[in-house]
Assembly symmetry: none
Amino acid sequence: MQTIIKNIIQKNSSKIMMVVLDGLGGLPVRGKTELEVADIPNMDMLAQNSACGLHLPVAAGITPGSGPGHLALFGYDPVEWQIGRGVLEALGLGIELKKTDVAFRCNYATIEKGVVTDRRAGRIPTDKSRKITENLQEKIKNIGDVKVIFAPGMEHRFAVVLRFPEPLEKGSADIKDTDPQKEGKPPLDVISQTPQAERVAKVVEKLMKAVLDIIKKQAKANFILLRGFSQVPDIPRFEDLYGLKALAIATYPMYRGLASLIGMDAPSIAGDIKEEIDFLKQNYKKYDFFFVHVKKIDSYGEDGNFEGKAAQIEKFDRDLARILTLEPDVLIITGDHSTPSLLKGHSWHPVPVLLNSPYVFGGLCKSFSERECTRGELGIFPTVNLMPLALANALRLKKFGA
Amino acid sequence: MQTIIKNIIQKNSSKIMMVVLDGLGGLPVRGKTELEVADIPNMDMLAQNSACGLHLPVAAGITPGSGPGHLALFGYDPVEWQIGRGVLEALGLGIELKKTDVAFRCNYATIEKGVVTDRRAGRIPTDKSRKITENLQEKIKNIGDVKVIFAPGMEHRFAVVLRFPEPLEKGSADIKDTDPQKEGKPPLDVISQTPQAERVAKVVEKLMKAVLDIIKKQAKANFILLRGFSQVPDIPRFEDLYGLKALAIATYPMYRGLASLIGMDAPSIAGDIKEEIDFLKQNYKKYDFFFVHVKKIDSYGEDGNFEGKAAQIEKFDRDLARILTLEPDVLIITGDHSTPSLLKGHSWHPVPVLLNSPYVFGGLCKSFSERECTRGELGIFPTVNLMPLALANALRLKKFGA
């Protein structure tokens, strides 16, 4: 499909805005969902005059992670383009990744007589963990000609990026996890699964040795377990596919990282939705496509806080008024997945979406909610269809065939 | 899908009628679409008692040309079966194509000192262009053993078919356009891109020379630019796939040409919908499947004439009464794509469809329109699903598996 799109792209001066309310979809609690109880006059008005529907990020019954959810929104098949855990973790910790890099997740662990006795080193506090990791970074800057980047994380977690002098071949990160998954077992060796990964595995072994020389005297965090070796996929650039100069506006590093993986500009922003909209307004002239990511709705859903999630949705609806003054040619409001507070986590439910442009029917939904969107003109559809619909409504696609 | 269908086909005496109202779907203007304002009691009555829905000819957001739109209606994946521009042009000019043929589009152009100064030879009037083309046909009947067919077109345009003595291999038309696409550049050479195309390219070069010998003294039309070299695809016959003896009833040559590509009988008919229905009635006993093409609705849509398009839909609704007296076992009324007068051209919007048979639910739509069809039992579905649904409703498909 992306090949067809690429062949019929035409450019114009239209602006496309995709607002992603992370974890938007919910489930009824006492009869109504978070969206259904929230007072959202702006989104209700839009829904009445927009193409509405529900989209499925991966497939029926499949609960998407944030990576697959966003890739699908940007039109990339999330089954074809699976982003490794190490890469996602490094992106989430704010490291920009290149084609020269291998990333992996690490746990501090406790080892005694060659056996892992605690896979999380007693869940050491974040500040203590951070100090150890910063010390590692100070003492280990490279292994031979390979740059080593340590990224401190929460509690016992951190990430490592190995940056080689030149781009790596596909398969270079096919290395087995060293985490034995159970206490009472010895850690596993660093084993490469492809010839291309052998060189990387040797660097990892040397790095292990260097790290252990520094931490082996620690009481708890005297070992590290490695997981999720991965490299950035050779994924086509968003602008090359769609002819859209794109700006990602997100306060959380992982979403900026995902956007920058496909070549969007994704500068660091501090603050909340207010600061995001300020930034959007300052940069509106310079771009064709805007990905605006709103995080907090998901966080309350993950906490199982129904009222909190509904309140965050209401807060966004008030802020939305400032976005509407920009009058984008195509405005999409949706989520990357559902996060019902009932489930305290991501879920498989299709995600409500509204698409506003001059070229829709509208008039089919009374308000913006999961149930009202089932009446919409878009039906239930794969999330990857959203970008072609956005481009079509921006009149950026020529006819296919004569 | 076509393979499954082929294996479970059974024959009976049922009649399937597919009426294609070209460019049927529209968009609201002052709140209502062309279908919504049109007074169409016959189609409204049918919609109330039919399976309704909306179909997507190619994919979400993709605006189909007439070729892809019709192939999808006949159950052929329009991405797999892409019909070349030269072939479509020749079909549209009324030439029946065979497996021995290479077709291409030509422009009369003006050349000065080896440089193209006007790619359209001043858009010479159709009658003048036609005379030049007829003169070419008179003087050039073949190049060696290859028959040459000239088909005059509008203004500076015409088409040429090279008919070889035997069927051509796949790839025989892989020849680059000679149109430099911009004025001020020399025309490009005739370049074959596959070994199979070399022989055809040599014939084209000889033809070019023969044509230029005749027209080089013309003031404006002193050169020709060639584009869209193509051959008919090796596409399965409609009757072989579905066991249906099929009649195409269309007044425009291109639609007859498309139908004849897949082996439908597609005799030339003059006149309008009245003459089409007369012809349908005369031939009703002889066929199992009827493709009835109604062109004018699309033409008004292309002109941006909202009222004119609505009036044509109303006109068809009155004529429909005569079709209904035939009482086909399965009656489908739909379009090959949408042509909203708001957009003055084809669009990406899914196309409303009603399928009437004794084996549908009905009772879900109050009238026949884009928005009412969103409530229908067929949902939004790929256009290629329509033929299997037609066959099923005609009780022409056996059970799949035991």
